[in-house]
Subunit: 549 residues, 2 copies
Amino acid sequence: MPAVELSPGLRPIEAVARDLDLAPELWEPYGRDKAKVKLEVLAQRPAGGKLILVSAITPTPAGEGKTTTSIGLAQGLRKIGKRSILALRQPSMGPVFGRKGGATGGGASRLEPSDAINLGLTGDFHAIAAAHNLLAATIDNRLHFRQTTLDPRQVLWKRTLDTNDRALRSIVLGLGGKLQGVPRESGFDITAASEIMAILCLAESRADLRARLERILIGFTPEGEPVTAAETRVVGAMTAILNEAILPNLVQSREGTPALVHGGPFANIAHGCNSVLATRMALALGEYAVTEAGFAFDLGAEKFFNLKCRQAKLNPAAVVLVATIRALKMHGGQALDDLDRPDVEAVERGLDNLEAHLDAAAHFGKPVVVSINRFPSDTQKEFDAVIRRVESRGVPIAVADVFGQGGAGAIELAEKVVEAATFETALRTLYPVDADPVAKIETIARAIYGADGVTITPAAAAKLAKARQLGDAHLPICMAKTQDSLSDNPKLRGRPKGFTITVRDIEFARGAGFLVALTGDLLRMPGLPARPAAERIDVDEHGRITGLT
Amino acid sequence: MPAVELSPGLRPIEAVARDLDLAPELWEPYGRDKAKVKLEVLAQRPAGGKLILVSAITPTPAGEGKTTTSIGLAQGLRKIGKRSILALRQPSMGPVFGRKGGATGGGASRLEPSDAINLGLTGDFHAIAAAHNLLAATIDNRLHFRQTTLDPRQVLWKRTLDTNDRALRSIVLGLGGKLQGVPRESGFDITAASEIMAILCLAESRADLRARLERILIGFTPEGEPVTAAETRVVGAMTAILNEAILPNLVQSREGTPALVHGGPFANIAHGCNSVLATRMALALGEYAVTEAGFAFDLGAEKFFNLKCRQAKLNPAAVVLVATIRALKMHGGQALDDLDRPDVEAVERGLDNLEAHLDAAAHFGKPVVVSINRFPSDTQKEFDAVIRRVESRGVPIAVADVFGQGGAGAIELAEKVVEAATFETALRTLYPVDADPVAKIETIARAIYGADGVTITPAAAAKLAKARQLGDAHLPICMAKTQDSLSDNPKLRGRPKGFTITVRDIEFARGAGFLVALTGDLLRMPGLPARPAAERIDVDEHGRITGLT
C-alpha cells in the first residue's frame, strides 16, 4: 500500500498485520489504521500464548489507569523481547460524551487511532444496537398484529442506545391510538449492557452467536410460559446485522504493539470483558496476550473468571492488580480534590482496599503482580509504604510509568509478570454453577466483597423463583454493582465491614448464559453529568478532533 | 494489495479508485470492496461532468426500478465509451427489514457489495443517529439539571433509530421519579427522516455541517422564544461523531462502474436525494454523473430541483423518467396481483400518470428521456402503446433491459440520454423562495400534483404563523406526501383530479434549510408489515447472507 499520512509514530495497519503473519485474505482494512480479522485465523493457528489479566483496586472517579497499564505492560513485554498483543474492550460512546471522556489508555500508552476508537471504531456497537432494536421492534410488531402469545405487561426485552440518556430509562411506548402499536411500559439500556453485547463477547463462533440469539428470553405469556427470540423469526436477520461485528478489530498502541479491540460490556452493569474470540485470537497471535477486566477486581475479574474463563476454558497465567497512590489516599480518607498532597498515613490506611482485592484474587489461585500506576504527584515514601505491605504478603510489585514513558516505563513490571506467569496453574472458579442462585450470590458477596450476607428483595426473590421453575437456576451470576465501593453503597471507600449486599432485581440473560443480579440503585442506562465531556469536544474544517483524548 | 476473494466480477476497490485517478491519500479502504473518499478531491478536481437525474412515475409497491435503471444507464454509458459514475443514496436498514427488502438495484444492474451496502455500508446512518440522539439526550439532561430555558412541553427535537418501529412514534419519557429526568411527550423518527440526515446531505463542507447543526431549532421557551442546538454546547461533539460520515462512500456496480453512495433521506417523508458532496464529487470524477431522486417525480425530483439544486447550484443536463408496463397497468385499473397479464388498454389508461409527471417535469425546462424498465411479462404491443404516446409529445423513449442485461440492455437509453444532454439549459426552479409558505405549497400542489388547492389545518396554520414570526417564511418547502399517488390519498392511482392537498402539520428544519409540510396521514417513522422482510434473511457459519437481495 503506498505511503499515506498517518498520525506520528503510527504504522499502516498492513504492517501490523504483516508482523502478525496474517495473510491478506485473513484481514480487511478499515481505513489505513484499522482492520477486521477473520475468524478463519482461529482454525489455522493454535492458541499458544499466555493470558495476562489486568485488573485494579477500587478506583477513583478518574480510573486507576487499567487500560493504560495494560497497554504499557504489553509495550514493556515487547521491550524485553516478548511477542505481546493486547485484547481490550472498545470504549462506549455513552461515557465518552458523559463523565469519563475517551477510554483508550493515555500518554505514551495509548491505542491508536485513539479518536476513531473512541467514536465507534468500525461500528460494532451500532450493529449490536441495530440487532437489539430490530428484535424489540419485531416484538411490538407482533403484539400489534396479534401474532404472539406474549403478554404486553411481561415483555422483558427493552431497547438500547449507545448514549447516556436517563430520560429513556423508563418510558411508555405505543401511544397514539390503534395504528401506533400497543401501549406498554418499557425502557432503554445502554448498548454496553445489552444482552447482545454479552452474547457477542461470549460467542465461540457464528453458529454459537445465532444459537444464543435464539435463546434470548423476551418475555412471558399471560400464563407465565417463557417466550424466546426464536419465535420472532428475525434471529437470522439479527445475525446478518452482526456479520461484521463478530470479527475482532485490529489496531495498535503508540509503540506499534498490536491490539485486538472487540466488544465492550461495562463491568458494573454487565460482565466487563472483551470478546472470547478476540482473546482466543490474541492467544493465537502472540506469546503474551494482555487483557483487562473492568473497574476493580471485585467486578471485572470476578466475572472474568466465573463467567468468561469458565465458559471459554481460558486459563490466565497471571493477574496484574493496578493501584494508584491517589486511590489509596482516597481510600485512606483523603478528599478527592486533595489527592495531590503527599500523605503516607492516608496511603497506609487505604492499603486495606488493595488487600481486600488481593484476598479476593487468592480465591482464584493465580500468581498476582501489583503495579503502581505512577503519577507526577506521587512520592517515594508513599511508594515505599505500598511496596512494604505488598511484599510482606509475598506478592511482587513494580512501579510503572506507563503514561509518561510507555513500554520503557514498564520493563520491571513486564519482567515480574513474565516470572509470575512461568508455571501453569489450574483454572479455579469461585462457585459451582449448579448451586442455587442465592448461594452463588452469597459466595461472591462474602468472598469477594467482604459482605456479611445478602438481602434479596421480594421482587428479586420472585424472579429467582421463576428462574428455578424455568430450569435456569444453574446459570452463573453476573453481578451488577457500583464500581465505587466493595459494597453496594458507592459512598463506602476503603474496605467496608459489617454490610450486606441488597439484590433488588434479577434479569434473565439466557443467551449470554447468566442471570444478572442488580444491587444497590445501579441502573443499566447511565445519565449525563451536569457538565458532559461532550461540551469539550470539537472538530475543525480538516476533520481534526480536539478534546477527546 | 494482494489478491483477495471478492464476489465474482468484483474488482478490488483499489482498482476502482485507480480508474478514477484517485491518489491513495485521497481515499481510505473499508474492507476490500468499499472506500471513503476524502473531501480534498473537491478542491483538486473541477466539477466538469454532466448531471443526469433519474426519477420515475408513481410506482407499484415493488418500485419502478429507478435505482436499477440508474445503474444500468451508468453501465450503458460506459458501453458507449463515456466515463460515467453513479451518485446514489444508501439504503435504510428500516425498510430493508420491513416491507421493501434490499435497495441496491437488481439483477445485472446492482451495486456491490450488495449485502454490506444494505446492512449499513460504512456506518454513516448510525453516526447520524448517534449525533441526533446525543443532542436529544443533552436536551433532556439540561431540562433535568435546569440548565435551559426550554419549555419541556415545547421541545421539537425527537430521537431517531434506523429501525421501522411504530411503537416508538409516540412515547412518554423521563418517567420513574426525579432521578430519571423530566416526564414529557416525545417520539422517534426513522434516521432517514432525521434533520441531521438532511443536513449531512445538503452540507457543502465540514464547516457548513457544523454551522447547520448549530442552527437546528430544538424548541421554544415558555414565552415562545426559539432555542437552537447551539445552546446545548454539544454541536462540536456531534460534528466529531459525523467526522467520517461526511465522506462519500465509493463502491461499484456489478460491471465495475464506480458509484458514490452517500446519505439516504426518504423522498416521501424527507427530501430524497443523496449528498451534495457525493454529487459534486461524481461531477468531478466522471463525464456523466447519474443520480436519482426517490419515488416518483412529484416527490423526489421536485425536491431535487427546488431544494438540492437551488441551494447547491447544481444544474442537471437531462432527466430520465422510469416507467414500467406493470405500473402503467396498475394506474389503468388492473389489480396488483394481475399485473403479469398483458392489457394494452390498461396501459393506455395508465399513461395518464406518466403524462402528469411529464407535465410536472416541463416546469423545470430540462430535456426528458422516458425509460421503460423491461419485465419478462411485458409485450411489444404494450411497449408500442407507450412509445406512441410519449413520442407524440416529442419526448424520446427507450426500452431498457437493465435487470437482465445490465449496461448492454441500456445502450439505446444511454445514447438518447447523451443526445438529450448535449445542450446546456439554465436551472429553473418552481417557486421563488421568498414567497409565503402557503403560496409555495400551493404552487407545488397545483403544478406538480395536479391538485385544485391546499387545505391548511389549524395546527399547521399555527406553525406557519410561528415560522413567519421567526423570520423562517423564506425557507423552501420539503413536502412529505405518500409515494403511492400524485395526491395525498394513497388509494388514488393514475392521474387524480378534483382533489386538494391537506397539510396537517409543519416541522421546522432550519439546519437543513427548509420547512417540512406533512400531508395526509404520512408518519416519519414507518412500521413493520405483518410479514417483515427480516423473516427471510439468514446467514451461515461462513458469514454468507441469504434473503437480502
